[in-house]
């Protein structure tokens, strides 16, 4: 045994590789590299042999072929004569759409539930605890299916809205909840400044950005005024004006009109159709992730010690000021990093779209395109590349935020 553990003296150079700290790590890394290279070679060989046996190769040319399938929920023009890459692009936009929608609503749900859970109302806080536990402990896939089932099996068919003895009615004559999706009025501009509606909406966005900058200026002005005189002017009317006036004027000029959905034949026509799969995915991701966000929010607020609130109160600050000036700035630093990783989770979980037939990138590129072309390796690789990019972008945002917070602290 001892001959094994103590290398003989004459193999001096060899023992240095293991026992000398200078070479030791190099030795290990060389070994690791060797092992890695060997296993990659092995896997690569298998891959080549298998592909040859199946008469396949790795080639992304299929992306320009005609896709041949329809997508009902789409943000850009697409027909079944378009290419696979166009279909993937439609899917990509759909992924972004549902992820953004779900992030917004999940944050709203989560913040409300998290704050209410800390409320001193016993019933409400227990109810919120119940919400959090129920949704966190049941797989999101089951929630997606449950809501999808509500959308398809419980909602009335469009024909139920028809005739004199209709069993279903539209809400406010504007919204129709059917088993094919929810129909809402579509706003459009009768005499828009530009020919295309999209450009008109872009104009609205530009005006909104302008309002945002103006609102910020007002806040800066109010702070400066407060610093000079001590009194902070009441900016609420001004902010309301800044946000509403340009917007309303623009709407008036461009002649905002609502196109209401109406029953024509067997289905509703006009308005915006939000398909059942989108609703199911959006809503399920929101309530599921909302439960996690609620826990983050609660933990963040609770992490600000009671002493902080007491010290602020003892200085004479009113509760709303205590919240805004002392508790929230501290709580947000704790809440935002996990919040961002919840956004990451939403983006990744949106891939469950495939279970309810929402045409996101997983369902188009990784589903129909993969099955039609049989290009498994290419499709899965592209899919992973997309999600990896999205994840890296989101983590980048998180790191920037963390760094900025850290700078302030020290």
């Amino acid at each position: 045994m001892s001959t094994l553990t103590d290398p003989p003296k004459d193999s001096f150079r060899l023992s240095m590789l293991i026992n000398d700290t200078r070479y030791r790590s190099l030795t290990f890394q060389a070994l690791a590299f060797l092992a890695l290279a060997l296993s990659f070679m092995y896997l690569g060989n298998n891959l080549i042999a298998n592909l040859r046996a199946a008469g396949l190769n790795i080639n992304f040319g299929f992306l320009t072929d005609t896709a041949g399938y329809d997508i009902s929920q789409k943000l850009v023009e697409y027909s079944n004569q378009d290419s696979h890459s166009r279909a993937a692009f439609v899917g990509l936009l759909n992924t972004i759409l549902v992820a953004v929608l779900a992030c917004v609503t999940a944050t709203v749900f989560g913040v409300i539930a998290g704050v209410l859970r800390l409320s001193n109302n016993w019933l409400v806080s227990k109810l919120m605890a119940f919400y959090v536990e129920i949704f966190r402990n049941i797989p999101v896939l089951i929630w997606i299916i449950i809501i999808f089932t509500i959308m398809t099996a419980v909602m009335p068919a469009p024909r139920a809205f028809r005739g004199d003895n209709a069993t279903a009615t539209m809400v406010f004559d504007a919204f129709a909840f059917t088993n094919r999706g929810i129909y809402t009025p579509l706003p459009w501009f009768a005499n828009g400044i530009f020919e295309s509606q999209a450009l008109n909406w872009l104009l609205v966005l530009v005006v909104a950005c302008g309002s945002w900058f103006a609102a910020r200026r007002v806040n800066v002005w109010a702070t400066a005024k407060q610093e000079a005189t001590g009194e902070r002017p009441n900016t609420l009317p001004m902010l309301l004006g800044i946000w509403l006036a340009p917007f309303l004027i623009l709407m008036l000029i461009m002649g905002l009109t609502w196109e209401y959905p109406a029953l024509k034949g067997f289905n509703f026509q006009g308005g915006i159709k939000i398909g059942g799969p989108l609703i199911a995915l959006w809503f399920a991701l929101s309530i599921y992730t909302g439960a996690f966000i609620a826990e983050n929010v609660r933990a963040g607020i609770q992490a600000v010690s009671k002493g902080q609130t007491e010290a602020a109160a003892a200085l004479g600050l009113r509760p709303s000021k205590v919240m805004n000036l002392v508790v929230l700035p501290q709580a947000l630093r704790i809440i935002i990093p996990p919040l961002i990783s919840q956004y990451l989770n939403i983006t990744k979980n949106s891939s469950l779209a495939i279970a309810v037939g929402y045409a996101d990138i997983t369902a188009t590129l990784g589903g129909i395109t993969l099955n039609q072309t049989g290009r498994a390796i290419e499709c899965v690789l592209l899919l992973m590349a997309f999600y990896l990019t999205a994840s890296l972008l989101i983590s980048l945002v998180m790191n920037v935020y963390n760094a900025s917070v850290k700078l302030k602290e020290r």
Partner: protein, 263 residues
């Protein structure tokens, strides 16, 4: 912990007690659920008094002084601070809180704000003071507690003693007429205790009305004009420091003093 290592003479000329009443507590009772924490507290504090409150752990000292600025609400009895009665009326609470300063055992500085911002926060938002003025005021008090050079650091970068002195300066920036201290030195090392007590003595020398929960018996002896001993939620004994330490009357006081001074 019995003796205070203050080198300089303590100037008692300004530490005079006026006839004006600063705080009046009559028949105050407080319960936590079924637990009777404060039992029939009666106390009158005149302006300029320096009162030390002592007593075993859990006797209700903190609870009592926290009632004085409505951090805790009392259920029975009357508390009048600076001529304002403490009720559930928010106006009164605001008024009292902006006139009563408080220092906590664990400092409770706001970690996300610099020392200067900690000090100017309340003057700006409660007293509606222009920023420049608030900063000058804050620097004045930071100089007074001898840490003006730390003004732009964050609390986490300061030692415990420095943090507590910032906490005192932060309270002083509201120009309080009464200061409450809840064991301001018990989380500190001996070295730092001295610097904080020094600051407190200076305050006393300027005639500040102070209520101080502390186990620093040296401070009590030399600075206080009255020592209050609490046990089981009631005021058991009170007296001038000299008398209190040399000639305690009740058995519980004797027992407490023998424990605290014994070693």
């Amino acid at each position: 912990m019995s003796d205070l290592a203050i080198e300089r003479e303590i100037d008692r000329t300004k530490m005079s007690v006026s006839d004006e009443v600063a705080i009046q507590i009559t028949g105050m009772n407080k319960w936590y659920g079924q637990f009777h924490v404060l039992r029939d507290i009666n106390l009158t504090v005149n302006r300029g008094e320096r009162i030390v409150i002592a007593g075993p752990s859990g006797s209700g000292k903190s609870t009592m002084i926290r009632c004085l600025n409505a951090l805790e609400e009392h259920q029975e009895g009357q508390i009048i601070v600076d001529g304002t009665e403490l009720t559930s009326d928010l106006k009164n609470i605001d008024k009292i809180r902006s006139e009563v300063g408080m220092c906590f055992q664990h400092f409770n500085l706001f970690p996300h704000l610099t020392i200067l911002e900690n000090c100017t926060l309340a003057p700006i938002w409660v007293r509606k003071m222009p920023k420049k003025e608030a900063e000058d005021l804050a620097m004045h008090f930071l100089e007074k507690v001898k840490i003006p050079d730390q003004a732009n650091k964050y609390p986490g970068m300061l030692s415990g003693g420095q943090q507590q002195r910032v906490a005192i300066a932060r309270s002083l920036c509201m120009k309080p007429r009464i200061m409450l201290f809840d064991e301001p030195t018990s989380a500190l090392d001996p070295e730092m205790i001295k610097e904080v007590l020094d600051t407190m003595i200076e305050l006393a020398e300027e005639g500040m009305t102070m209520l101080c929960v502390t186990h620093e018996m040296g401070f009590a002896r030399q600075v206080a004009n009255r020592v209050i001993f609490m046990a089981d939620g009631q005021i058991v004994e009170q007296n001038e420091p000299e008398e209190f330490f040399n000639n305690p009357q009740s058995d519980r006081t004797k027992q407490f003093l023998s424990q605290i001074l014994g070693h």
